[in-house]
Amino acid sequence: MWWRSASFILDHRLQEDPPNDIASSSKEPDTLSKLSPPQTHSSFMAAADPFNPIPNPKISAYYQTRAAHTAVVTSDWLAQAQAAVGHHPDDSPAPQTQLLASPSASGKSFCVINEFNNWRKQPDLAEAVAAIRALAAVIRASEATTMMELEIELKKASDSLKSWDTTSISLTAGCDLFMRYVTRTSALEYEDFNSARSRLIERAEKFGEISCKARRIIAMLSQDFIFDGCTILVHGFSRVVLEVLKTAAQNKKLFRVFCTEGRPDRTGLRFSNELAKLDVPVKLLIDSAVAYTMDEVDMVFVGADGVVESGGIINMMGTYQIALVAHSMNKPVYVAAESYKFARLYPLDQKDMAPALRPIDFGVPIPSKVEVERSARDYTPPQYLTLLFTDLGVLTPSVVSDELIQLYL
């Protein structure tokens, strides 16, 4: 799937004619400057970091970022962030994270996780892309002189990234994807080290573009499925789904959207705000009103945190029950997800994943004897999904595994 993406094909063409190759290597410093993380951000982070790396190891960092980017900031969330800052002074990451210091003579230490966190701050940047950019930064900082050395260094960096937040599927998928590119691309074999290295950096740079492009492609693909007068049920805040609906609104389609509230981080509120700005008629539902409104709904649109090998998706808590209700009422469930979210995971049931926990505010104090289910996501099996809109095209769930086999085996 990597090699079917637009930028890979471009890349491939570049290789085929040598003069371009030289041009690309001359472009290198330019790419580097573009790639380095925004300085303002990092300095800002050093001053007062509201989301410290792993404020509480039990709480999923991935979902915290998501909440910070997409949710209405609630009082409990602020309190949690404050507490986190209080507990951890900013530049000491959690003890289990491996500092990846490059063995540079200048003594400048470089940490892939800090780098990743810098990139992650940008609300428009997907997690996988941030991971890949962080890995590209590793290549830049690396003083390796052979491909093998670089590969080992990258492997270490990606492992530490992955272990830093095991709950984020797209982080893992992004790291795997990039490693795959480094270890597998035969194009790199015959080149000298420096041009191979610059190609890798260039590649990582392009990945950010793919991420935005992928959303555009998905939005275009899904237009055929949105017809005038339809009612769409949306769950959670997905940038891809927002793009889809935005495009539909721009194309003067007449449709109406039902947004679930998306407890506990209320992502639905934010989503309905965005839609209201586009003048799309939108109605907010509480999460438990899904079955009640389902007979008015024509289709369900959800995003995905990760698409797994069975063709099912892992997404925000509540997706599974919506898919179940939709399935029993014969409504199509469409998933919009970029192909870099495809992960080599195969959960058999809900408990078959590493738990991703998040804080939940009930508004009233909960007695300590009462247990709270704090998982942030659930797994929707493929038989309840109708189609997946990806930048590779509109796929049935069973094709996901085919793509993954072709990529990883």
């Binding site: 069975s310 408990k351 085996l409």
Partner: protein, 477 residues
């Protein structure tokens, strides 16, 4: 054979050249003549002949009573000269398996056979196309013939006997035994004068394979292994000397065994163990070597789980597995397949072995597997099928009827060690009693949650992808 004809004449219509038109005319004339000769009872054949000339590809198999008539039609078409050469026809469709209800072919095969099998008398109507023999009669006969059998290498002979007696059973064990026997045979092989190694050795292997097939029908995995070996022989570089070629082939076989079977099992174990959690109750059916390795490895890792072994008559293979697992200190429950719906509600995972996995995701396995998988599906328990990728096959099968193996019918009518259960004594030979002892069944892919193979954990829908990507020219790479 018959259905080839319409298929071949299909392109005729598009561009009818002069010769082809003449062929068509001639065919029609021949058909008319045949109809005249045979008198009034033949409207069906005439229409059949015309149909085949008129490009109608839908004509399926004909009942054998019309064989003679269709033969005349076929020969008349041959005169027309538009039949493609033999080679092309072979490529169109895979060679059909021997249908044992086709009497003339069975007679022909019998004349060639080394093992004299006595056919069982009362065969079940739906399963007449499968070979079924009286069990227990061949062994002494074969033993007495040991010194007369020239073409079969003693090691292959030994393996064949072990197949008949049931000493070697289980897909992997049978396949490894066969390959090792071939290895020995290749070691002792020397090319006769005026023959080439590639051709003569292939012929030799073919004769061994047909011998083994007579002892017990080959499994799909063995078919794949044989195909691999033949392909290797065919692709031997001509420059190699005989001893080099033999060493080459032996190491190839060795590599196949270690990579495709032994290492594959290790990888499967590694993958499957990740799906076992503390507190799980795992159910398995029969005795699968891969599942056994998984259970033992998970136990070695210190996972706390319980095993339910579901077993079925007449083989009761589960008891062997049970014995080995209990010996290693696993906590086990043993139940018969009748109790599966009762025991299923406490089970959290079902691990099953497979004889083969077909392109549409159908799992072809020991009889009873489908039943267990269906009950598990009904109880929403995930079903994991553990199968090495060399057992995958591109064929598609929808039921367990068209390809299966029939076991000894006596095994189900008698209960060994129970003299008091003798209700069927004396009536097993009666005309209106037909005993059916199926060996395999087909589990539809809907009931399978995951297939664990050496290429990772894949959904059953991805089997054709693996076959396509890794099984080029039907040889696993």
């Amino acid at each position: 054979m018959q259905n080839d004809l319409p298929a071949n004449s299909k392109p005729l219509k598009e561009r009818t050249s002069k010769a082809e038109r003449r062929a068509l005319q001639e065919a029609q004339r021949a058909a008319k003549a045949a109809a005249k000769a045979e008198g009034s009872k033949l409207p069906a054949t005439t229409s059949g002949a015309v149909a085949s000339a008129n490009v109608k590809p839908t004509k399926a198999t004909k009942p054998s009573s019309q064989k003679n008539d269709s033969a005349t039609v076929a020969s008349s078409e041959k005169k027309g000269g538009d039949r493609p050469p033999e080679k092309d026809r072979k490529k169109d469709a895979p060679h059909p398996r021997m249908q044992y209800d086709d009497k003339s072919r069975v007679e022909k095969a019998k004349r060639r056979a080394v093992v004299k099998q006595t056919e069982a008398r009362n065969r079940v109507e739906l399963f007449r196309h499968l070979p079924q023999y009286e069990h227990g009669t061949q062994l002494p006969d074969l033993e007495s013939k040991f010194f007369q059998l020239d073409p079969v290498h003693p090691v292959v002979y030994k393996v064949g006997l072990q197949y008949i007696s049931g000493d070697i059973s289980g897909g992997n064990a049978r396949c490894i035994a066969m390959l090792q026997a071939f290895q020995e045979a290749i070691k002792d092989y020397s090319t006769p004068d005026e023959k080439t190694l590639t051709r003569d050795l292939t012929a030799k292997i073919n004769s061994y394979v047909s011998f083994l097939n007579e002892c017990r029908p080959l499994s799909i995995s063995m078919g794949n292994a044989i195909r691999f070996l033949k392909n290797r022989i065919a692709k031997l570089p001509l420059t190699l000397s005989e001893s080099e070629a033999k060493a080459f082939l032996q190491s190839d076989i060795e590599q196949f065994i270690s990579e495709k079977i032994i290492l594959a099992d290790k990888v499967i174990v590694k993958h499957a163990v990740t799906k076992i959690r503390d507190g799980d109750v795992l159910l398995t059916h029969g005795s699968s070597s891969a599942v056994e390795m998984i259970l033992l490895h998970a136990h070695e890792l210190g996972k706390q789980f319980r095993v339910v072994i579901v077993d079925s008559r007449p083989k009761l293979e589960g008891q062997l597995l049970l014995r080995r697992l209990v010996g290693k200190g696993l906590s086990c429950t043993y139940a018969n397949i009748n109790a599966v719906s009762y025991i299923m509600h406490e089970v959290t995972r079902v691990f099953l072995g497979a004889s083969s996995v077909l392109s549409n995701g159908t799992v072809y396995s020991r009889v009873g597997t489908a039943c267990v998988a269906m009950v598990a599906h009904e109880f929403r328990v995930p079903v994991l099928v553990c199968c090495e990728a060399y057992k995958f096959h591109e064929r598609v099968q929808l039921d367990s009827i068209c390809s299966n193996e029939l076991g000894d019918p006596d095994a189900i009518s008698k209960v060994p060690g129970r003299e008091d259960i003798n209700y069927l004594d004396g009536c097993t030979n009666s005309e209106n009693l037909q005993l059916l002892n199926l060996i395999y069944d087909a589990t539809p892919s809907d009931y399978v949650s995951m297939i664990v193979t050496d290429y990772g954990m894949v959904p059953p829908t991805s089997v054709p992808v693996i076959v396509r990507e890794y099984c080029r020219d039907q040889v696993w790479i």
